[in-house]
């Protein structure tokens, strides 16, 4: 009566279906979300922005392949995570940076920060930001040579004009420690751009960080696609907004706050760097704490630190705190109320006391 005796049926543990989202599609979504920022960067800073990004992507993919080849590990090229690191590392470098420098950054990010700790999912620092920190320490002048935004960048792909070296950045003008008098970018003797310029990206700065508009578009895309949730960027940007509004150093205060939000790397950091899966907490409450921590450190470094911009170091420092944040933010156990926990604690204390007396 059984006509299907030859049928080979798989016996496996449930569940038998999976969501269509996989690691590769998540990384692809991140790359798509970075496209608007790249377009704005090319428009304001010239085709070199695109060339530098492509070189960086190729570098990251190559170094990851090389490491895994040398150590005879399975190749993981398909997951696109190295490509994301490549784009992000290029985005936090100035457009004037020579190609060889960015390749050194790629090497550090892929070999030292990512692969030596075991590859994807095991590194404790954000590879792109660690790569940038390494370049900042090794080549501080190259890393702070800003191109003046504008059409002139479209000519002379590699030549560095005199303009490029003198361009002021909004963060430099607003910085407290290195300039005598922090002020709004457009009030400086040499204007570093109006609020509108800051929002659009028509200012001096790293390739990917200048256009707040493009980054917000990318961030909204990521949230809409469910790749990231709004907790980390929300907590991060919210913290910076509140602190800079209360402790404003320019007049009007609201414009100072907006300049702090749109200037520098905050949007890139909040939407793309701090939300890096591997180096941010996995627990919902942990994500909020982490975001607030990033915001506090960013404002502290901007106000009291030696650098005009603090996003990358703030995020790196919070990366290091991630394990301990996770340890203390496990979701509350199902079916155990706060009241129950309090009672259990009291009982434990009483038992301890009783034991000591005995």
């Amino acid at each position: 009566m059984n006509e299907y005796k030859d049928l080979k049926l798989t016996v496996a543990s449930s569940p038998h279906v999976n969501s269509p989202v996989n690691t590769r599609s998540l990384m692809l979504d991140v790359l798509i979300a970075l496209v608007p920022a790249l377009c704005f960067a090319v428009f304001f800073q010239g085709p070199k922005a695109l060339a530098l990004t492509l070189v960086s992507v190729a570098g990251c993919e190559f170094f990851e392949w090389l490491y895994r080849k040398l150590l005879k590990k399975p190749q993981t090229m398909g997951d696109l995570s190295a490509a994301v690191t490549g784009v992000l590392l290029a985005f936090v470098c100035p457009v004037t940076l020579p190609y060889w420098t960015v390749l050194i950054g790629d090497f550090f990010a892929m070999f030292v920060v990512k692969q030596l700790f075991g590859g994807l999912g095991k590194n404790f620092l954000n590879p792109a930001l660690a790569g940038r920190a390494f370049l900042m320490l090794s080549y501080p002048v190259l890393m702070t040579t800003w191109a003046k935004p504008g059409v002139s960048n479209w000519f002379g792909l590699t030549a560095q004009s005199a303009d490029a070296i003198t361009a002021a950045t909004p963060m430099g003008v607003m910085h407290g420690s290195t300039v005598a008098d922090p002020m709004l970018p457009w009030k400086a003797a040499e204007s570093a751009g109006t609020l509108r310029d800051l929002f659009m990206g028509n200012v001096g700065g790293c390739i990917g960080e200048v256009s707040a508009l493009a980054l917000i578009i990318g961030g909204i895309y990521l949230i809409w696609r469910g790749v990231i949730n709004p907790r980390i960027p929300g907590a991060y940007i919210g913290t910076v907004a509140v602190l800079t509004l209360i402790f404003s150093r320019g007049n009007p205060h609201f414009e100072w706050m907006l300049s702090q939000l749109f200037g520098g790397g905050l949007m890139l950091g909040a939407f793309f760097m701090a939300t890096d899966y591997v180096t941010s907490p996995c627990t919902p409450n942990g994500e909020l704490i982490y975001g607030v921590g990033c915001g506090l450190l960013t404002v502290f470094i901007r106000y009291f630190g030696g650098y005009p911009e603090g996003v990358s170091y703030a995020i790196l420092l919070m990366n290091v705190c991630t394990p301990i944040i996770e340890k203390y933010t496990h979701p509350s156990r199902f079916g155990v109320s706060k009241e129950d926990i309090r009672k259990a604690k009291e009982a434990a204390k009483a038992a301890k006391k009783g034991g000591a007396e005995a």
Partner: protein, 451 residues
């Protein structure tokens, strides 16, 4: 007001395959049924018939030997064998095999009851017990045990019509076609455990069922539409959604004053009380991408799975796997001679394309989607890391025993890691260790007593 439960996922529903197809009796009854003696939580029943005995629909064939529910013949005919046969729980189980005479002669115990309203709660529980009714949503807990344990302890009766698993539509069709039986059964169950009201929870993706039951329900049966979100129909999540209460770890719904039962169980209670019918047949959804004609059927318990597949037109393409139940929590079938049971609500034939792709080479990227998806507030990624290192104490400290194996974390994992499988391994290892420790302690105590 409805409450929320934390987490969950929303897999593709695929309910359109069968949701508009009325439940029909099998076009051809099976020539033979195989009725296993364990279709419930508890001890297997003891067969009370011998080879050659005549049985009718509803004749008692298996008696309880402890916790359990009696088992009745689902077709009329002659007992062909009483022997171990392959069954749905895996392995072999003592079964009563009946050759069908296609007469469907009812047993004399099946008779209409007029004085339904005059029945007391205890009488209803007795009828439910004798009718062999078990939970029809999955686990198969004997319903009379649930009801008698609830008397005086619960204040809320919840009937589960969520049917949150993809593909399955048997409860949906039941609510549409036999709404009176569901509502009637709800009232009887409420009375049995000393309550006057009941709540039926239904996911909002079944608006027709919600509307239909609302027109039938009086003021004593509340119909709640629930957001479509898996695992809405999991007992603990359903309680949380409707009452806001959380069942404590290791506890039962009764600990928070709730009793949860399936809508199909309520209909079975109605049939048992009003018509005297034991639980011998049920609605089953035959579906999946490999099934030629997906449909809902009313089939006798014990029908071999292969026969059901044949009734659905056979396979239109080679299935990768065949499941009892839905794709999220269903159990795989490896022998088509295995019978459908009292708790079989669906027979799902998935093609290779529908099944999850497996890629063991990938690693966890710490995206945290599993933490967000877990309705039991667990941290699957941290538990898995420790399972890999076989650190059972640490896994236990992360409350792996709270895991309801709903599969939400596994479903959402972008690295396709076999999370649920690793938690099952951990649970088994932890239980095993506890049992061994207990045995060692008892042996020691015995020795000490001797000395």
């Amino acid at each position: 007001m409805l409450h929320q439960f934390f987490g969950g996922v929303h897999p593709a529903e695929h309910k359109d395959l069968t949701e508009h197809k009325a439940t029909t009796p099998l076009a051809e009854a099976p020539a033979q049924v195989v009725i296993p003696m364990a279709m419930h939580v508890g001890a297997p029943c003891k067969p009370v018939v011998a080879v050659g005995d005549e049985v009718k629909v509803g004749t008692l064939i298996g008696e309880t030997t402890g916790l359990g529910a009696p088992i009745h013949a689902s077709v009329s005919g002659r007992v062909a064998a009483v022997e171990p046969r392959p069954y749905g729980g895996g392995g072999m189980m003592m079964s009563v095999v009946i050759d069908n005479d296609f007469q469907d002669t009812p047993d004399p115990c099946v008779k209409h009851r007029d004085n339904v309203d005059a029945l007391t709660g205890a009488e209803i529980i007795e009828i439910v017990k004798n009718a062999g009714i078990t939970g029809m949503g999955g686990a198969g807990f004997p319903t009379h045990v649930k009801l008698s344990g609830a008397v005086g302890k619960v204040d809320t009766l919840i009937l589960n019509g969520a049917e949150c698993e993809p593909y399955i539509t048997s409860d949906h069709r039941l609510m549409l076609e036999r709404g009176e039986a569901v509502i009637g059964g709800a009232r009887l169950m409420a009375k049995a455990c000393g309550l006057t009201e009941a709540t039926i929870g239904i996911e909002l993706n079944k608006p027709d069922a919600i509307e239909h039951l609302k027109t039938l329900a009086g003021s004593d049966v509340h119909i709640e539409g629930l957001k479509t979100r898996y695992p809405q129909g999991a007992e603990k999540q359903l309680i949380q959604m409707i009452t806001g209460r959380q069942v404590p770890p290791g506890g039962l719904p009764a600990h928070v004053g709730c009793l949860v039962s399936n809508v199909a169980t309520a209909a079975a209670v109605w049939d048992a009380v009003t018509e005297g019918k034991p639980l011998t047949r049920r609605g089953v959804t035959l579906t999946g991408g490999a099934m030629a004609e997906p449909m809902n059927v009313l089939a006798p318990v014990g029908t071999p799975v292969g026969w059901l597949v044949k009734m659905a037109g056979g396979f239109k393409e080679t299935p990768d796997r065949l499941l009892y139940g839905g794709p999220m929590m269903g159990n795989p079938i490896y022998d088509l001679d295995a019978p459908m049971m009292k708790s079989t609500n669906c027979l799902l034939a998935l093609t290779a394309a529908e099944v999850a792709e497996q890629d063991p080479a990938q690693t966890c990227i710490r995206c945290g989607k599993c933490v967000e998806a877990c309705p039991m507030h667990l941290t699957p990624l941290f538990m898995r890391m420790r399972v890999d290192k076989r650190k059972w104490d640490e896994v236990e400290a992360l409350h792996v025993m709270d895991c309801i194996e709903c599969g939400s974390c596994n479903y959402i994992c972008p690295a396709r890691l076999p999370l649920v499988q690793s938690f099952r391994t951990a649970k088994f290892a932890i239980r095993d260790k506890a049992a061994k420790e207990k045995a060692a302690r008892e042996a020691k105590e015995k020795e000490a007593a001797k000395a």
